[in-house]
């Protein structure tokens, strides 16, 4: 790497002592480029074995990578922590302005340890760190308002990032998220609860550091090529309809989880599809920093006040495929306004929309089966397709109203353990499913993804490729393909580029980009990097008690036909053992 590259600066913040220091860590960044690679090493170093995820020992590690700030779509920050949701590796990627802001602050990573005794937000401006009193914004009902207050109190307009939690994080709901720039999230696995456990309301980052290049001419040349690629058809789907484009095709093949996965098909999705939302609600498109694609789709929801004629409110609410699935079809909702209202409630409180959706879906079915009653729900009667009861339940979860709601705070696996219905609790190794019932590869991916069952694995794409070719993929081959793709994604998430750019950042282009950033690597080195990071993550997972042979998954996936037909239980169990062996190979 370039000597003195600010990327190797790691900011350590100790919340217990309200102190900080910056350390040079070329050892981390020269070998592992940054992002997930540097992140897993920092987590391993700073997280004691068996640490309580909600205790002061659990570190929050945020990293960016060698391409951050330099190239388009290198716009993601990697968060690593021990997850309060699964008790194991927590990794979550967020965009917005977070990555470019961290790099512009002259940093490659931020490690936050300890816990504050009172609510605080941390402001990082360059290498100066300020501990601001957050008592006034603690307990505020809407995350949107919190953002406004912090904006008014911090410099760096236009370049800063404000990563904050809502009440769900304060209350340490195990699937609380961290929201950045209003519409982007470190969504999964409960980073928001870790913030809350440290009484950390927000992290503001800005700076004016110049990012060095090894060879300005070569840099400009490579930039030109990559920028042109962002304008090509490869990125069009993210650009036009956004990820919501997936609703219609997934529904058509029967892979769209509907009503707690009682079906893979949802009737009448025209209005809640990417096309329908664009036609009737799309009000604005937004982008992460240094990303010309602009995949963030914001709906304008105009509604009248019922108590006052000619009085309206218009809210700007985001939509994407995953929340449409989790807070829409999974709950039998196909009315876009029902979805948008529920999404707004979930956003205002700061929950992971995917886990929240699976919890609500389980509760609906549990109520139908009489496993829970209105005594448990404090009078909330859940009905597929109706948003008002779901919104009431989401507020109840964050308020922690009673034992039932306190159980819901810990996710669907825990709730089902307490109240029954484990066969239809859509949890994979303790984490709620993503929106793909495309076939066995998707579910294997949820179980064994290196981010501990995150949605971003290649499973659904393998399923769909197999479906289109009509060929049955042998399990061993499926497992190998999943692991190979996961390894490559460790490279992308070390750079750090958005996974949506995986069609652009192929090994050759990646090496050219890295060369202009001062990293002399060949495709074979990238392959080795991917293997190393993948291995390091599994080492951490095993260290913290992950047992690949004991991963749990719900019976429901065998009962409801997937896009690839009925999944055979015995065959899937065999796939799990093949996969266990594959992830632990080398």
């Amino acid at each position: 790497m370039i000597p003195g590259d600010p990327l190797a600066n790691v900011l350590y913040v100790d919340l217990s002592r309200r102190s900080y220091r910056v350390e040079r860590r070329e050892d981390l960044f020269a070998d592992d480029i940054g992002g997930a690679g540097a992140g897993i090493r920092l987590l391993d170093e700073n997280c004691p074995v068996g640490a309580d995820p909600l205790g002061p020992d659990n570190p929050i590690v945020l990293t960016v990578g060698a391409l951050t700030g330099l190239f388009p779509l290198a716009s993601k920050t990697v968060a690593m922590f021990k997850s309060p949701h699964t008790g194991n590796l927590g990794e979550s990627h967020g965009g917005g302005r977070s990555a470019v802001a961290i790099r512009s602050a002259g940093l490659g990573a931020i490690v936050i340890t300890g816990a504050s005794s009172s609510p605080v937000w941390i402001a990082v401006h360059g290498h100066d760190v300020f501990f601001r009193d957050a008592d006034t914004v603690w307990g505020m009902s809407s995350l949107f308002t919190v953002g406004r207050v912090i904006r008014d109190n911090e410099p760096g307009a236009g370049v800063r990032s404000i990563m904050r939690i809502g009440r769900a994080g304060e209350e340490m709901v195990s699937y609380a998220c961290v929201t950045t720039e209003t519409y982007r999230h470190f969504g999964r696995l409960g980073l928001g609860a870790v913030f809350g456990s440290k009484k950390l309301k927000a992290l503001v980052v800005s700076g004016a550091e110049v990012i060095p290049t090894a060879d300005p001419k070569a840099y400009k040349r490579t930039y030109k090529e990559l920028f042109a690629a962002t304008q090509s058809d490869v990125m069009r789907k993210y650009h036009d309809l956004g990820t919501a484009e997936n609703v219609t095709p997934l529904n058509a093949i029967g892979g769209l989880p509907t009503r707690n996965l009682l079906s893979g098909r949802m009737p009448d999705t025209e209005r809640i599809s990417g096309e329908g939302l664009a036609a009737h609600y799309l009000g604005r498109r937004l982008a992460c920093a240094h990303c010309p694609v602009g995949c963030i789709h914001i709906a304008a929801l105009r509604e009248p006040y019922t108590d006052d004629p000619y009085f309206y409110k218009t809210r700007m609410i985001s939509y994407d495929y995953e929340p449409i699935f989790s807070l829409g079809t999974l709950l039998g909702i196909n009315d876009p306004e029902c979805y948008l209202r529920l999404m707004e409630t979930v956003e205002a409180l700061g929950l992971d929309c995917m886990s929240a959706g699976a919890v609500l879906a389980w509760a609906t079915e549990a109520m139908e089966h009489g496993l829970i009653t209105e005594n448990d729900t404090d009078g909330v009667h859940l009905v597929w397709g109706e948003d008002a009861p779901y919104r009431a339940m989401v507020r109840g979860i964050v308020d922690g109203k009673n034992d039932f709601y306190l159980a819901l705070r810990r996710g669907v696996a825990f709730a089902a353990q307490q109240y029954g219905g484990e066969d239809f609790a859509l949890s994979f190794a303790g984490h709620e499913m993503a929106g793909y019932h495309t076939g066995p590869a998707a579910h294997l991916g949820f179980l064994f993804g290196a981010r501990h069952s995150h949605c971003d694995n290649a499973g659904y794409s393998l399923d769909q490729t197999a479906l289109m070719s009509g060929a049955t993929v042998p399990l061993e081959e499926m497992a190998r393909s999943l692991v190979a793709e996961e390894r490559w994604r460790q490279v992308l998430s070390s750079l750090v580029v958005c996974f949506f750019a995986r069609g652009i950042y192929k090994p050759e282009q990646t090496c050219a980009a890295l060369a202009s950033a001062g990293f002399d690597v060949a495709p074979a080195d990238l392959d080795a990097l991917g293997r190393r990071v993948y291995r390091a993550k599994y080492d951490f997972k095993l260290r913290e008690g992950f047992d690949p042979a004991a991963v749990a998954y719900p019976d429901r996936i065998f009962a409801t036909r997937s896009a690839a037909g009925l999944i055979d239980r015995a065959e899937f169990a065999r796939a799990v053992s093949v996969m266990s062996a594959e992830v632990l190979a080398d």
Partner: protein, 151 residues
């Protein structure tokens, strides 16, 4: 003579590619060493403000320069004569839209030269070069994007 103009801020998605493009012209990778700024219009749900030099006909920045380091540019705006600039910052204060930025490495203003590099990197047609031969007769020069995207 052409000058840079903001054609439609409502098309801005806030990607900052224009800012990086401006800085890259001088071999810098930076959000601060650029002559263009993009900030939200009170939270990104309300969209963005795109701040560039207005190419004033009788620029206040030039009027307040005690060293005459800013000379009038044909077509509007100013040109910096760096060797005359003493870094007093009065020009920055005089610009009411905040379009004069600062290179703190040399303590001198960053002055837009209306080259249009930023516009070339805006995929949405927010920015473009316009002709500025006669006052009141601005004609948009179609940008790369606007020419094939009806919007």
């Amino acid at each position: 003579m052409t000058r840079l103009d903001v054609l439609d801020t409502d098309r801005c998605v806030g990607c900052q590619c224009c800012i990086f493009a401006c800085a890259r012209r001088n071999d810098d990778v930076s959000l601060s060493l650029a002559c263009i700024k993009v900030r939200s219009a009170g939270g990104i749900s309300r969209g963005f403000r795109v701040i560039v030099c207005r190419a004033c006909e009788d620029p206040p920045c030039a009027k307040v320069c005690p060293e005459d380091a800013l000379t009038l540019r044909k077509g509007g705006g100013v040109t910096l004569i760096p060797e005359l600039c003493i870094g007093c910052g009065l020009c920055r204060q005089a610009c009411i839209v905040g379009a004069i930025h600062w290179d703190s490495r040399i303590n001198k203003p960053l002055i837009c030269i209306h080259c249009g590099t930023c516009a070339l990197h805006c995929p949405y047609g927010v920015l473009g070069l316009v002709r500025n031969d006669r006052p009141g007769a601005l004609a948009a020069v179609p940008s790369r994007k606007a020419s094939h995207d009806p919007g």
